[in-house]
């Protein structure tokens, strides 16, 4: 099996993080990472991107909507 190039590796990062690479490709992925100074940071940056996405602030629903929903839930009670 030929070695992966950096250009190939960057397209496999999500499959790598998802654990869906086949065993042969996963081995090639790891051996490339072990000797490449550019791809390690790239994979880390994809991880940091995911982490930052997980830190986005919560949105909130207007209080009137929430109160109307609670009223609807209460009504369900009396049916």
């Amino acid at each position: 099996m030929p070695e992966l190039s950096c250009a190939e590796l960057v397209e496999l990062v999500t499959d790598f993080l998802e654990g869906t690479l086949d065993p042969g490709t996963r081995d090639r992925f790891y051996s490339h990472l072990a000797m490449c100074e550019g791809c390690g940071p790239y994979v880390d940056q994809m991880r940091m991107t995911v982490r930052t996405l997980g830190d986005l602030p919560e949105e909130s629903v207007p209080a009137e909507v929430r109160d109307a929903l609670l009223a609807a839930f209460r009504e369900g009670e009396t049916r």
Binding site: A7, E11, T20, G38, C39, S60, V61, R66, L70
Partner: protein
């Protein structure tokens, strides 16, 4: 009594308990669920419809459907996934009425193909090591938790990047990475194949990474420049 946002210290009950309490018309359980999940549902609804008002209505309609459909919940998915699927179906119908349809079944389309990193970043076929980085990606000065101002700016860059994604990519990355559903749940919510879900997620993440890279490079240039 109004509904307080449900985030906070109190532990969220497991599905079995939550469903039993909701079926028993326990208002505290309902308030907790609506408070905890509505923010994520609203963020998601916005990707399917044209206005914020319309998105808020989709969320409201979803909860009404949940109230009336609780008895039909069979527990084949988590309650949260079930609620999310109702939201997506409600939002899709609403989107269609507003002339916004998202072509879920047709894949791949042009925007879902091709390299996710600019080919110019790699050495060409004439070189000794084709496909190798010309210049390595530069490390990012990720803000520590104490640097709240910088962290806030970084999140703003990510929020902005999301607005530039094609609809399907934005919806998939929102569900996976912002809202934290797993791959299987996202496939079930959107009726996507596992492979398509991964393609959309990969392209979306690579795009957002690229925006962060530009932001950090710009911040570094500004700092170096004085």
């Amino acid at each position: 009594m109004g509904i307080e946002a449900g985030e906070g210290e109190q532990p969220f009950p497991p599905d079995s308990e939550l469903v039993a309490r909701l079926r028993g018309r326990d208002e505290t359980a309902f308030v907790l669920m609506v408070g905890s999940w509505s923010g994520g549902l609203l963020r998601l609804a916005r990707h399917f419809v044209s206005t914020n008002d319309s998105a808020a209505e989709v969320v409201q309609d979803t909860w009404l459907a949940v109230i009336h459909g609780l008895d039909s919940f069979e527990g084949r998915s988590s309650l949260k996934t079930w609620v999310c699927r109702i939201l997506v179906n409600t939002a899709k119908r609403r989107g269609v009425r507003e002339g916004r349809t998202i072509p879920w079944s047709s894949l791949p389309v042009a925007q879902d193909q091709g390299p996710t990193v600019d080919p110019a970043r790699f050495l060409g076929p004439e070189s000794e090591d084709p496909g190798h980085w010309r210049v390595f990606p530069q490390p990012w000065p990720m803000p520590s938790p104490e640097q709240e101002a910088v962290a806030k700016e970084t999140r703003a860059v990510v929020e902005e990047a999301l607005t530039h994604l094609p609809d399907r990519q934005r919806i998939v990355i929102t569900l996976r990475d912002v809202e934290g559903y797993n791959a299987e749940e996202v496939c079930s919510i959107l009726e996507l194949s596992a492979a398509n879900q991964r393609v959309l997620l990969h392209r979306a993440r690579a795009f957002v990474r690229g925006r962060l890279e530009e932001y950090f490079a710009g911040a570094k240039a500004a700092a170096d420049g004085g």
